[in-house]
Symmetry: C2
Subunit: 176 residues, 2 copies
Amino acid sequence: MATQPSSAKNVPWLNTREMKAWRTYIIASRRMLDALDNDLAGLDLTMADYEVLAQLSDAPDRKLRMSELAEIAMISKSRLSHRMKVMEQAGWVRREECPSDRRGFFAVMTDKGFKAIQKAAPTHVDSVRNRFIDHLTAKDQEDLSKIFDRVQAQLRGQFIAEDGPAKSSNKRSTKK
Amino acid sequence: MATQPSSAKNVPWLNTREMKAWRTYIIASRRMLDALDNDLAGLDLTMADYEVLAQLSDAPDRKLRMSELAEIAMISKSRLSHRMKVMEQAGWVRREECPSDRRGFFAVMTDKGFKAIQKAAPTHVDSVRNRFIDHLTAKDQEDLSKIFDRVQAQLRGQFIAEDGPAKSSNKRSTKK
DNA sequence: ATGAAGTGTTTCAACTTTCAACTACCTAGC
DNA sequence: GCTAGGTAGTTGAAAGTTGAAACACTTCAT
């Protein structure tokens, strides 16, 4: 539906090597991500929230425009608004008016939020090491970077070529 | 909390190479998975449902015990029950009593379900190729398999060592 | 000025996910 | 045979997540 990528017919099936790579990658990744989320749960964080907070803590003055934060954290503006409300109540962030553009707001990380993320970081890094990085050689790491740089480049290419705002859109057709 | 992996204190931070590998992998993966889900949306499928159906279609007689299916599709039994209800209404699967253990049920893929997945498969494979596999050399694929085999082996190790039923458990502590 | 477009929030309805029963059955020990 | 305890799977309610659309402002170009 909608510009079927030309080559859609007679797609060559995955051969054994390809299938193995795909399945191994996809399954191990899911398990690992579950595990990481689990490791963070003890700190009342999800990976998604950690990502938002980490981005914020890296930003100059630990503040970013809402839109920009949404973009780099790869979530919709609406979703960010929702999450911010929760994190605001936890006292980790607050909103601040943008003086130069009065439509805009900054998401600002509070000291409490910064302490929270600083406390979470070692646990998370430990997770990432134990569950992933420490099992890779330096060469592996470089290979991986190259591979996923390529993957990402192509995705970006396709998205720019298209129209939509990149986000999903779940069009479960008119089937009940 | 709960057997902190001994080395939890003074965790060495990720160096540049490690950080690059981790971020590139995690971000590109997320984008790619989003894209794949998007590609499937036109066929009224999510990756999760596709996974369930694919497992079923690969099983002998295209049937599996509910528990077993839940396990290999990496979802909880409860969740599978709920999803099955939906897929049953779509006419893709049905439940069948297990004669040898009358507590049990088989999930059975119907012909209609098989046709649906057969129709979806080329699109999905095309997605997987375009967005991932075709950007890897044969060597890349082998490297990837090795890497994620290792990652998975270690995860399994840790899980076996623990008590729970492997599934998350979200213990957001007693805060509010 | 005026209208179009941008920023961010909010409401709403749909959907997903988990949790804690709950039914039904099986197995073992006595 | 009975009973205790375990397993298979379902269920309903509660909680959480999500995106679309409507909204209130503000800015910007004419």
